[in-house]
C-alpha cells in the first residue's frame, strides 16, 4: 500500500494524459479503419476506457472521489450501450446477413 501511494507521487499526471490520448487515438483509428461493426463497437469501448483512465488519474491526484463516481456511472452507460449495440448487430446479421457498417447507410433515406 505504501509503495503504491509513492508510485502516484513519483509519476507525474502528464504521463497518464499522454497514454490516455494515445488510447483514444487508437480507438478513433479503429472506428475509421475497419468496416466490421463488432470491431467498431469494441473501439468505442476503448475510447470510453481511455476517458475513464483520465478521470481516475485526475481523481487520484486531486484526492477527489467525485471523479471515480463518475467513472462508475460511465461504466454503467457503456454496459447499456453494448447491450443495445450488439442486439442491433444481431438484427442486422439476421436481416441482411452481413456486419458491414457501410451497408447501414441505406438507413439514411428511402429514395
Amino acid at each position: 500500500m505504501e509503495k503504491v501511494t509513492s508510485a502516484i507521487q513519483v509519476i507525474p499526471v502528464e504521463y497518464y494524459m499522454y497514454i490516455s490520448f494515445a488510447l483514444f487515438a487508437i480507438g478513433v483509428l479503429g472506428v475509421l479503419y475497419r468496416r466490421n461493426t463488432i470491431i467498431i463497437l469494441m473501439c468505442i469501448e476503448l475510447m470510453l476506457t481511455s476517458v475513464n483512465l483520465l478521470f481516475v488519474a485526475f481523481s487520484a491526484y486531486h484526492s477527489d472521489p467525485a471523479g471515480q463516481v463518475f467513472v462508475f456511472l460511465v461504466m454503467l452507460v457503456a454496459a447499456a450501450e453494448v447491450a443495445v449495440g450488439l442486439s442491433i448487430l444481431v438484427m442486422m446479421k439476421r436481416k441482411i446477413n452481413s456486419v458491414d457498417i457501410d451497408l447501414l447507410s441505406r438507413l439514411k433515406d428511402e429514395k
Binding site: 503504491v4 501511494t5 502516484i8 497518464y16 488510447l23 466490421n36 469494441m42 472521489p65 463516481v69 442486439s87
Partner: protein
C-alpha cells in the same frame, strides 16, 4: 514502480493496436480483454481498488462475454471481410495521428491547476466511495437503473425473432 508503470502501459497500447489490426474478430476480443486488464492494473497503481474490481467484473466479465457470445452464436469469426480502400486506410491513420498530435499540443500549452486538498490515499476504497455514492450522488445512481431498464427493454425488442406487427 516506474518500471511497472511502463510495463503496463506498453501491454495496454500494444494490445489496443492489436484490437484494430488483427484479422480474426476473436483475436480482437482477446486483445481487448488484455487491454482492459492492463487498464485495471493502472487503476490499482492509482489507488482506485474499487474501480479496478468493478472494471474487471463489468468489462472483462460481462461486456466481453457478451461480445464473445455474439461472435460465436452468429458465427462471425471469418477472416474474409470487406476492407476499406487503401486511400481511406491512409487517411484514417493520418487523421488519428493528427488527433493525437493536437491533443498533445493542447496539453503542452496548458497550465497546472493547483491541488487544494491534502493527499488522501483512501479515496478509492469501497468504504469511502460507497459513502460518496450513496450521499452526494444518490440521484444519478438511482437514475442509472432506469437507463438499464430501458436498455434491457430495447435489447429484447431488437433481438426478438420476428415481430408479428408488420413494419
Amino acid at each position: 514502480m516506474i518500471v511497472l508503470f511502463y510495463l503496463i502501459t506498453v501491454i495496454m497500447l500494444v494490445s489496443a493496436v492489436m484490437v484494430v489490426f488483427s484479422k480474426y474478430p476473436v483475436n480482437s476480443v482477446i486483445s481487448l480483454i488484455i487491454c482492459f486488464l492492463a487498464v485495471a492494473g493502472h487503476y490499482i497503481l492509482l489507488n482506485a481498488q474499487f474501480l479496478a474490481v468493478v472494471h474487471i467484473i463489468v468489462y472483462t466479465g460481462a461486456i466481453m462475454v457478451l461480445f464473445l457470445f455474439v461472435l460465436m452464436l452468429m458465427n462471425l469469426n471469418s477472416k474474409v471481410e470487406s476492407q476499406r480502400s487503401v486511400l481511406m486506410k491512409i487517411a484514417a491513420v493520418v487523421s488519428c495521428g493528427l488527433l493525437f498530435i493536437v491533443l498533445v499540443a493542447a496539453l503542452k500549452r496548458s497550465f497546472e491547476i493547483p491541488v487544494d486538498k491534502p493527499f488522501d490515499n483512501s479515496i478509492g476504497l469501497v468504504k469511502n466511495l460507497g459513502r460518496v455514492l450513496f450521499s452526494d450522488f444518490l440521484l444519478p445512481f438511482e437514475t442509472s437503473s432506469v437507463l438499464f431498464l430501458s436498455a434491457m427493454i430495447g435489447a429484447v425488442m431488437l433481438g426478438k425473432k420476428d415481430l408479428k406487427t408488420e413494419v
